[in-house]
Symmetry: C2
Subunit: 393 residues, 2 copies
Amino acid sequence: MVFATAVGAGTTQPAQGEDPAWLHEPGAPFSAYGQPAQTERGTTRRIGANRAVAGNGVSFTPLDELEGVITPNGLHFERHHNGVPRIDPARHSLTLHGQVEQPLSFTVKSLLRYPMHSQMLFIECGGNSNAGWHTEPMQRPAGSMHGLVSCAEWTGVPVSLLLDEAGVQPTAKWIIAEGADAGAMNVSIPLAKMRDDCLVALYQNGERLRPENGYPMRLIVPGWEGVLHVKWLQRLELADQPVMARNETSKYTELMPSGKARQFTFTMECKSLITSPSHGHTLPRPDIYQVSGLAWSGHGRIRKVEVSADGGRSWAVAALQTPVLARCFTRFRIPWRWDGRPAVLMSRASDEHGHVQPTRAALIAERGRSGYFHYNGIVSWAVDEDGSVAHTY
Amino acid sequence: MVFATAVGAGTTQPAQGEDPAWLHEPGAPFSAYGQPAQTERGTTRRIGANRAVAGNGVSFTPLDELEGVITPNGLHFERHHNGVPRIDPARHSLTLHGQVEQPLSFTVKSLLRYPMHSQMLFIECGGNSNAGWHTEPMQRPAGSMHGLVSCAEWTGVPVSLLLDEAGVQPTAKWIIAEGADAGAMNVSIPLAKMRDDCLVALYQNGERLRPENGYPMRLIVPGWEGVLHVKWLQRLELADQPVMARNETSKYTELMPSGKARQFTFTMECKSLITSPSHGHTLPRPDIYQVSGLAWSGHGRIRKVEVSADGGRSWAVAALQTPVLARCFTRFRIPWRWDGRPAVLMSRASDEHGHVQPTRAALIAERGRSGYFHYNGIVSWAVDEDGSVAHTY
């Protein structure tokens, strides 16, 4: 494998034709709230909704069209069970109750008075990349298979402050979080995690939350599976055991080869994905290309990302864009000289706690063939002689 | 001055009235590109355009309504001289010429093939906060006076790579950058800075640039004044001297008390601003309040932000949100117990290179009364007995 360090793509050819009109006519006036350029309107979330229930499904972040680590708010992935409620914040509140000394209720206005914490964090759906369990490699753009993960700066009130104010009874071990959608989506989260680093978020990338991301308040559970980040948060109930809700029993659990099911598999594992080049791209000719992608781990910081261009026989260490932050996207990049022969590009992430992204084969050996959630196997992109890029196993 | 550490704003009062409809009706379906909640549509850029020339003016980021450090793309400040050109990226190119070995031309497509670099950086207009030079304190929200500064993750191609490819002649000392708006806005930037850390940016907060922020390509000049971050970049000309353009002679220069004018005052100085509470806010009663604000320095990292509640007689050190990054917004926060008496809130930033934000009096002593650009004096908010907050000197 040959990795290169530079590229020359400038041309000495002068611009052709008449001056475009925008060089001679005054441009558009100021705008109160900006939108993407007309010529970029094709960069959208990719929606996969239930045909019978329009508000049940997902929309994917188009990771293969983005760069850096921030996901702009308009493109943050969605997973809804019953659509996006249009909540009047003046009529919404969060109730903290159950095994507490004093049940409390918080409005947006009251939460805004608490100390805030900001953190750049990824959120990944437990079902992200689940097509990786298919027998044949799904032929879709990288974002349309792996884009149920996004990264934003979340700002909110530490849950620990609210717990301290209410007073937690010693019997409490779990918190049951519930959203204010018509499905009243609920899940159970260990109290220790909630005390440790969870937030009731009010802001996303600087501005107030978007409706589809939980406006006016959302639970943030750093590094843990997306379903726990309850949107439109309206209730936190302290209990001595989990509630055994639909989304922690019939869903978001996994049948293992032993015949038993895994449950409460909270942490999103160490993972990476080459976003460019990736499925659907075409390399026009043998030349130097910049391999770029994302790595993340629910355990902490990414320590290393290795890239292979020969299907995993040899590996080179990619550069990591700084700062490398815990439970946040890390952008990796490495230049690669394509010689025109078939190649298989792969990336393999390692985190600071020693977790290494497994091969698909190793993942299947461990988890069996009934997997659906928590797919974090290495993703392989096959570059054909004609420069086309496709998903391969 | 008494600084406090906690707050209790939860209420034991249960929610009143009938269930809102959103708890019982399916919500809205998925959206391709999300927008702010209907109830947050009042959070917009605040436009100040020339009455005669609609495309000449500014729009301010509403800093007093935001939290964290990222400015969402829809709210990034604008400064245009002749409106926002609607550029077809297929017909746009960047020409690198002048004192080079080989003139080169780059399209968006060719730039996308180069190694990329991402960095979270503030951009501040040299004229930001210029109402600070007024004799009377301007009574406007914090963002409407100081919001010609925003912060985003910019991703692009290091200018040094393009320079290396073209080959720089030894006589070259400056680069003249020009935009593709109808004003052909141009400025001169020292070659050394361009080599050091400047970017031709293609992405802003993960997605392609917004039209009003330079789509399809913009020069990024970390920590230096906004006018240098040429939008719609179409030309970089290497020269042995600056071009002495309008925006570096009649504008963006400053008459000093000596009668001489300062020119090429590139670096944006160490500065901070309390965004909450700030002008227009009202504290409902004596209680604990969270003081929150932003600090930044074009020289590097913020080292310390001090906050005073007694008009500068005593100071306390605020907490800095991590990571603290060079030439990026740093969010600071400190709780404050308001006793109901008149108070004057101030913040004072220091950076890692020893620069300390000056008082307004010190700034005027140094710069005189003809100042317009580079105002970085300490901002004071007066809290009245009735809880109202106003700008004061």
